[in-house]
């Protein structure tokens, strides 16, 4: 600020507020972006703060240009591009810092504050949770408070209250319009804007293949896979098999999904005990959708494979909700085409020779497939231990090692080895992965299925019965199926340990409440899509045609709401908002005026009383009481609610002759 007029906008307080707001809004990015971005941002802020504090020299223009070029180059080197979520956010953060550095005029201060509002939105690209919503709201409030301080100019520094109260009022006034826009703004099918490719890195979930050991990493995760709302009674816990990817191909170690797809059909030989429910699945970046065994219908935007696997047409990149019907009592696939039979019997006999030999021996010794199945289940039941931390199986023959040496394993060990034994015994078999069970939230009766509930089981094909589900894990650890993973293994992770220690269920209930809240948030805020919008507006009695009709509604509603808020503000600022004591007093004066004694507009209450006493001695006492109350209300310490009502009643009863 050397030379020229002192610039109110660049007052050191305003600059420091702006820098603090910027730091606040960028803080969550520190953990998400490379460390050098945070360091650069902090350095630029510190430098700008120093310039403001010591009224130091501004950075030379050439240096700012050089830094800008360097920032772009560094971004490119870090990401190999300058587009996409991470690179774009990085670039925006760096440019905001450089804009602060070169900020010299009032216009640039305003520009920087508005740049701050854009930065607030970048947080939304990373997290759409409720806490992040509140954090972003706090950011917006902070920036408006900064703007308020900026418009105060120089002079006495506004107090925190003088900054936050008016800015809070401004935000509160914007809430009705925000709601109108949220409810009525035309929604597009799918997410409002396509999130960049890299937005879904690190999502957890099932995969297309199963190797001994990969589900157990999922089991460690408390993340929600999907939530289910049942329409009516909830099926028994042991029936909650959520069908996901079906694996046919086996190479001796890994089970995989077949590459080709053949559409399936919903014609079942028997389909009874239908269950209706709605699934809200968290994004997992893959195509599959989950349903209870077996699906009775196909959601919109999805297809059905011949192995009853539901596949969404587009990858599930955003939270998605669909209604489903399933049959718990079913019989399907009575006829097995030769090609499928070949697939369901194929195995590589160079691996796991002992397992294959076992299957072949049992087939030779047994009367039929059912006996082989029962024998295998009995075998598992007798000798195996269920554990999440099985010994590492490193050889080329993992199932041999598991069945004959370690005998400690998890669902994928049991399912994989069981299916291999079946195939060796000549019984068509395949692996089904998905989730088993779930956790009932007692507050909203929603079933929460977590990654920890991931499971794998086997389907075998029996002549005359079609595909039959066999879960070898259930014979090893029945509690896994009846009570869930926590019952089978004891608590896992930190939070469940705390919950297990929580005798009064305070934590558990808090956790359920939080999950119920999140579910509402997901359904009504984040999942407010075309269908939800239509459903909601129709429940209000608004016929929603196409987006043009919706746009018209939006325009009408914004004008109406904006007008109402504006009218409210105008009315609030009108001089002399009607004090009830004044209303009563005016009524009293009007009665006297009707009786021929009008109060002059400039006449005070006591002067008027003197005239009333002289002109209407019959009501002098009443007039004295009313005047005393009015004086107390208007010029004294005020009247209590009761005394005010008494005054109103006295005025009502007042009858001058």
């Amino acid at each position: 600020m050397s030379g020229g007029l002192p610039n109110a906008a660049l007052d050191v307080r305003n600059v420091l507020w702006l820098l603090a707001s910027m730091a606040f809004v960028v803080a969550p990015h520190a953990a998400r972006l490379p460390p050098w971005v945070g360091a650069f941002f902090a350095a630029m802020l510190a430098w700008r703060g120093w310039i403001a504090w010591r009224a130091g020299r501004h950075a030379p223009r050439a240096l700012v240009l050089l830094l800008t070029a360097g920032a772009v180059a560094a971004t490119f080197v870090s990401y190999g591009r300058i587009m996409g979520r991470d690179a774009g956010t990085t670039l925006l953060v760096l440019m905001a810092a450089l804009k602060l550095l070169e900020m010299k005029t009032s216009r640039e201060v305003v520009l920087s504050i508005h740049l701050g509002f854009v930065l607030v939105m970048t947080n939304f690209l990373y997290s759409q949770s409720i806490p992040m919503g509140f954090y972003m709201l706090a950011c917006v409030w902070l920036f408006v408070a900064t703007l308020v301080g900026y418009h105060r100019g120089t002079g006495r520094a506004p107090t925190l209250r003088e900054r936050f109260v008016p800015s809070g009022m401004l935000l509160a006034q914007a809430v009705p319009l925000m709601l109108v826009f949220f409810i009525l703004f035309p929604r597009m099918q799918g997410p409002l804007w396509a999130l960049p490719q890299d937005a879904h890195a690190g999502l957890s979930g099932l995969s297309e293949s199963m190797t001994p050991g990969n589900i157990s990493t999922l089991i460690q995760s408390e993340a929600v896979a999907f939530r289910v709302q049942f329409d009516g009674d909830i099926p028994p816990y042991g029936a909650l098999y959520w069908r996901g990817p079906v694996l046919w191909n086996f190479d001796g170690r890994t089970w995989r999904m077949p590459e080709f797809t053949i559409a399936g059909s919903l014609d079942y030989a028997r389909a009874e005990r239908p269950v209706r429910y709605a699934v809200t699945v968290e994004p997992h970046g893959k195509h599959w959708l989950f349903s209870l065994d077996v699906p009775g219908e196909v959601p919109r935007g999805a297809g059905l494979r011949h192995d009853l696997q539901l596949r969404a047409i587009r990858p599930v990149d955003a939270r998605r909700r669909y209604d489903m019907v399933s049959y718990l009592d079913y019989r399907y696939g009575l006829h097995l085409p030769a090609a499928f039979r070949r697939m369901a019997l194929a195995f590589d006999d160079r691996h796991n020779p002992r397992t294959i030999a076992l299957g072949r021996r049992w087939a030779a010794e047994s009367a039929g497939p059912v006996e082989v199945v029962n024998r295998a289940l009995a075998y598992f039941n007798a000798r195996f231990t269920y554990t999440l931390e099985p010994p590492l199986l490193s050889s080329d023959d993992p199932y041999d090692e598991f069945l004959f040496d370690t005998r400690r394993g998890f669902c994928e060990h049991y399912a994989g080895s069981f299916a291999l034994i079946m195939r060796a015994a000549g019984i068509p078999a395949r692996i089904v992965t998905g989730y088993q069970g779930g956790e009932m939230n007692p507050l909203n009766h929603e079933l929460i299925v977590r990654q920890a509930d991931a499971h794998a089981w086997v389907e075998v094909w029996l002549e005359g019965r079609g595909w039959v589900r066999v879960d070898p894990t259930s014979v090893v650890s029945p509690t896994r199926i009846d009570g869930g993973i926590n019952a089978a293994l004891g608590p896992i992770g930190v939070i469940p340990t705390l919950i297990a220690a929580d005798r009064l269920h305070v934590l558990a209930n808090l956790r359920y409440a939080w999950d119920a809240l999140n579910s509402q948030w997901n359904q009504w805020v984040l999942g407010y899509n075309v269908d939800r919008q239509r459903q909601f507006l129709e429940s209000l009695g608004l016929a929603v045609g196409d987006w043009k009709r919706l746009g018209l509604w939006l325009a009408v509603a914004s004008v109406a709401v904006g007008g109402l808020v504006g009218l409210g503000l105008v009315l609030r600022d009108l001089p002399g908002r009607r004090d009830p004591a004044v209303v009563a007093w005016e009524r009293y004066c009007a009665k006297l005026a009707a009786a021929g004694l009008a109060r002059q507009p400039w006449e005070g209450p006591l002067d008027f009383l003197a005239r009333v006493e002289a002109a209407h001695p019959a009501v002098a006492d009443e007039a004295r009481g009313i005047t005393a109350d009015y004086v107390q209300a208007r010029y004294g310490a005020g009247l209590g609610r009761g005394a005010l009502r008494a005054l109103q009643a006295r005025v009502r009863r007042f009858r001058p002759a």
Binding site: G576, W602, E603, G604, A628, V631, Y635, G636
Partner: protein, 313 residues
């Protein structure tokens, strides 16, 4: 009950002062009350009227009744500031200058015929009024407390006067006019005793300490938002209406409020009412307000116009 409370406080020292003063100055109870309100509000009083209506008598009477230390300064055209403030005289025995305080070092000053003095002497007094201290020969000396000036002046059209400028008029909280006594009071006056003898026999009705206490109590009188609305409406009207040549200053608004508080206390009330404002307004704004246009109304009439033009909000 607030309305009957007027009687309750009657034996108070203030009422006593008013009652005794009314026995000396006949038929002028309202002016006496206004003068008391002015003193209680810690303002200075200007009494303007033709000679011989009792200006000096009123001020002397108040001084005696309030039990204050009293000095009178007769302003003439050759009065010098040193005659007001005091002079330093060389003391031969101690070889030092010794300050001889002037008549201003008193609690109540009667500045008689202030507009006969030259502006130089006037300003010596007026500065003391504002600052409550005087500076003589480079040394600042505080004036006693309470310090209160009653100035009298002849109407401006009289011969040989130096009219006080508006900025100095503003330092007086109130300007009063005594006016001629009515027929009955005048008859009593003509028949009665010599006024000066009456004054010399007056006993103080309160002590200086009591006065200071009362002055402090004035500021505690309750001023509601509604009353502030009224005062602001009056001030705003004086500024925007074409009927006044110049609006009231913020200092004038403050003076109205302070005087109204004093008046309400004298009425025995805790809260200030519009009536209190109306009672003191002509005296408080009369010397600050002038009618505009052809009427050129004097201050008192202009104040009445203002009162009837502004409804009580």
């Amino acid at each position: 009950m607030l309305i009957d409370s007027r009687a309750r406080l009657s034996p108070s020292p203030v009422e006593e002062v008013v009652a005794r003063a009314s026995r000396v100055i006949l038929g002028k109870e309202r002016q006496i009350r206004l003068a008391m309100a002015c003193i209680l509000a810690r303002g200075h009083l200007l009494i303007e009227d033709v000679p011989g209506v009792g200006k000096t008598t009123l001020s002397q009477t108040l001084a005696r009744l309030l039990g204050l230390d009293y000095q009178r300064i007769q302003f003439t055209s050759d009065l010098l500031p040193a005659d007001v403030i005091g002079v330093s005289i060389f003391d031969r025995e101690n070889s030092t200058f010794r300050f001889h305080p002037g008549p201003i070092f008193a609690q109540i000053i009667l500045a008689d015929e202030i507009n006969r003095a030259s502006p130089k002497a006037q300003s010596a007094l007026l500065e003391a009024m504002e600052e409550h201290q005087v500076t003589a020969e480079g040394e600042t000396r505080p004036l006693p407390e309470p310090f209160f000036v009653i100035a009298t002046q002849n109407p401006l059209h009289q011969v040989g006067t130096f009219p006080l400028p508006e900025s100095q008029l503003d330092r007086f909280l109130m300007r009063l006019r005594l006016g001629y006594p009515d027929a009955r009071a005048e008859r009593e006056l003509l028949r009665g005793d010599e006024r000066r003898d009456l004054i010399s026999h007056l006993e103080p009705a309160m002590t200086a300490a009591q006065l200071v206490e009362l002055q402090r109590a004035v500021t505690a009188a309750q001023v509601s938002e509604a009353l502030l609305d009224y005062v602001q409406a009056l001030v705003a009207h004086s500024r925007t209406s074409p009927r006044f040549s110049q609006g009231l200053s913020p200092r004038a608004g403050l003076a109205v409020l302070r005087a109204a508080q004093a008046w309400s206390m004298m009425q025995g009330r805790r809260q200030v009412l519009p009536e209190d404002v109306q009672a003191i307004l002509p005296a408080v704004v009369g010397h600050r307000l002038h009618g505009a246009g052809e009427s050129q109304k004097g201050g008192f009439d202009a104040a009445t116009d203002l009162l009837t033009a502004v409804p009580i909000p």
